[in-house]
């Protein structure tokens, strides 16, 4: 009886949370197109999220490309298919691994940052102070951040993919004596619009999810400083789960339209 009650209350809590996030998202869409537009703050957030994540995304992408190529080489060589290496690596990275890994890194870096920042602003009454001063805090803090993550994540993913391919090309150059020109010729030959478009479209959704969950958790934070930590942590955990759900849906839909 007790176990059943616990399960039902957890299920209830889950659906309540899903409902609250949905209302939060609806509030975002209602306010995103209405004046006044916080353009300056939006650009500042784009700079903070994009520019400050470049190094992390670049280093991760580079190592991803190196390791992926090093690990795949022996298997392909066993089948005498090492000439397929650029095609295989580029399709894997562009379609799936690049977007998912970059999004997960950004969920950790950007999502937790938003959760902690808005959470601490909430518990120290800074959000209330903003509202009292006649500024709509939802527009200033939430709308700008969600828009910035939605716009910047695809750019970071493209950057991360490019660096990963450079890492892969270096391994191929050193291990297989494949020139950079030949490597990238094969890469561009292998990649089609049906690889790039679904990956780019889903990266916008990834960015939206990171911004939405980070802002939701931070903006609705309570319970003082403990709540700030919880908001930051929950932002990363829930966003990571949501990213895989979005990825699954994106692959499913891409399969219908592009027959991957």
């Amino acid at each position: 009886m007790n176990a059943t009650f616990k399960i039902s209350s957890k299920v209830n809590l889950f659906f309540t949370e899903v409902g609250d996030v949905t209302f939060f998202a609806i509030r975002f869409f209602k306010q995103v197109f209405t004046r006044p537009f916080e353009t300056k703050e939006f650009l500042r957030q784009c700079y903070l999220m994009g520019n400050r994540s470049l190094l992390l995304v670049g280093v991760t992408g580079f190592i991803l490309g190196l390791v992926f190529t090093l690990q795949s080489r022996p298997t392909l060589m066993e089948f005498g298919a090492q000439s397929w290496m650029p095609s295989m690596i580029s399709i894997s990275i562009v379609r799936e691994i690049g977007p998912v890994i970059t999004a997960l890194i950004c969920a950790g870096r950007i999502g937790s940052g938003i959760g902690a920042e808005l959470g601490s602003m909430r518990v120290t009454e800074q959000i209330d102070a903003m509202e009292v001063s006649g500024t709509n805090p939802f527009k200033y803090l939430v709308v700008t951040r969600i828009l910035a993550t939605t716009l910047m994540l695809p750019l970071l993913i493209i950057f991360g993919d490019a660096i990963a391919l450079v890492g892969s090309a270096i391994v191929e150059n050193l291990k297989g004596a494949v020139s950079f020109q030949l490597y990238f010729n094969q890469v561009f030959e292998a990649l089609a619009f049906s690889d790039i478009i679904p990956a780019t479209v889903k990266s916008f959704f990834f960015g939206f999810a990171i911004g939405l969950i980070g802002c939701y958790k931070g903006y609705n934070c309570n319970k003082g400083t403990v709540g700030v930590g919880e908001a930051s942590n929950a932002a990363v955990v829930y966003t990571s789960m949501l990213l895989f759900v979005i990825d699954f849906i994106a692959v499913f839909v891409s399969d219908i339209f592009f027959e991957i």
Binding site: P36, E117, S120, M121, T124, E125, Q126, D128, A129, M130, E131, V132, S133, G134, T135, N136
Partner: protein
């Protein structure tokens, strides 16, 4: 005092109710603030003082009752009208609530952003910021970050930010809490000076008896969500009611 009471109140709460689940915080609270007066609301911690002041500026929604500021019922106002009305109210938060990612200048600039007539010229905004900081004696701190300021300085900057739009009504939420007695005294003196300079009407929420004694023209004791007693500091301290006496021990 009597001349003040004859006028229309600039701020009026009638039968204010606010519940959190089964916890009835405000149970028909009433308040009138008249032009130029300093009204102190005293109550124990958790008695609903902060909830009341947050309902007053629309940060929380009351469950019942009416809130009128300068004759306008704020519960019937749209967001735009409410924002406009809020420009006539200065709010000093308990923890100062300075934006910690912004400098002192940017903190003071923030409330001016939506006021094109001031912001039209950059030097005009700078003049307003410097004037507000000069009034709290902190012109030299203009480029500092909030974490470089002491508790008293933070409270002064928060006061300058609350005053930047030259409001007619000032709301103080525990203005001296967390400050040492000397700094608390300085803040109280500053509040008096500000009232003289700007001619504001002030609602002060506090449990600091010294603050109430120095600054109040009139006081309300908030107990169990209602006005338990009302009068001047002198009248209340002379009361024989044990509940009232407990406040001034």
């Amino acid at each position: 005092m009597k001349t003040m009471i004859k006028e229309e109140p600039v701020l009026e709460l009638k039968n204010l109710y606010k519940h959190f689940g089964n916890n009835k915080v405000l149970n028909g609270f009433n308040l009138q603030l008249y032009k130029g007066e300093n009204l102190v609301v005293m109550g124990k911690s958790g008695s609903g003082k902060s909830v009341m002041i947050k309902c007053l500026v629309g940060l929380m929604q009351a469950d019942g009752g009416s809130i009128r500021i300068k004759g306008q019922d704020i519960t019937s106002l749209g967001q735009r009208e409410l924002d406009l009305l809020r420009t006539e109210i200065g709010f000093l938060f308990q923890g100062s609530a300075l934006y910690d990612s912004m400098t002192v200048r940017e903190n003071l600039y923030f409330p001016l952003r939506r006021h094109a007539h001031i912001m039209g010229r950059e030097e005009e905004a700078e003049k307003w910021i410097r004037e507000a900081l000069a009034n709290v004696g902190l012109e030299h701190a203009i480029d500092l970050m909030p974490d470089e300021l002491s508790g008293g300085m933070k409270r002064r900057v928060a006061l300058a930010r609350a005053l930047i739009l030259k409001p007619k009504i000032m709301l103080y939420d525990e203005p001296t809490t967390g400050l040492d007695p000397i700094t608390a005294k300085e803040i109280i003196q500053l509040m008096r000076a500000i009232q003289k300079t700007y001619g504001t009407s002030s609602l002060i929420i506090t449990h600091d008896v010294d603050c109430a004694r120095v600054i109040s023209n009139r006081m309300i004791l908030l107990v169990d969500g209602v006005n338990y007693a009302e009068g001047t500091f002198q009248e209340l301290t002379q009361s024989s009611d044990p509940k009232i006496k407990a406040f001034f021990k």
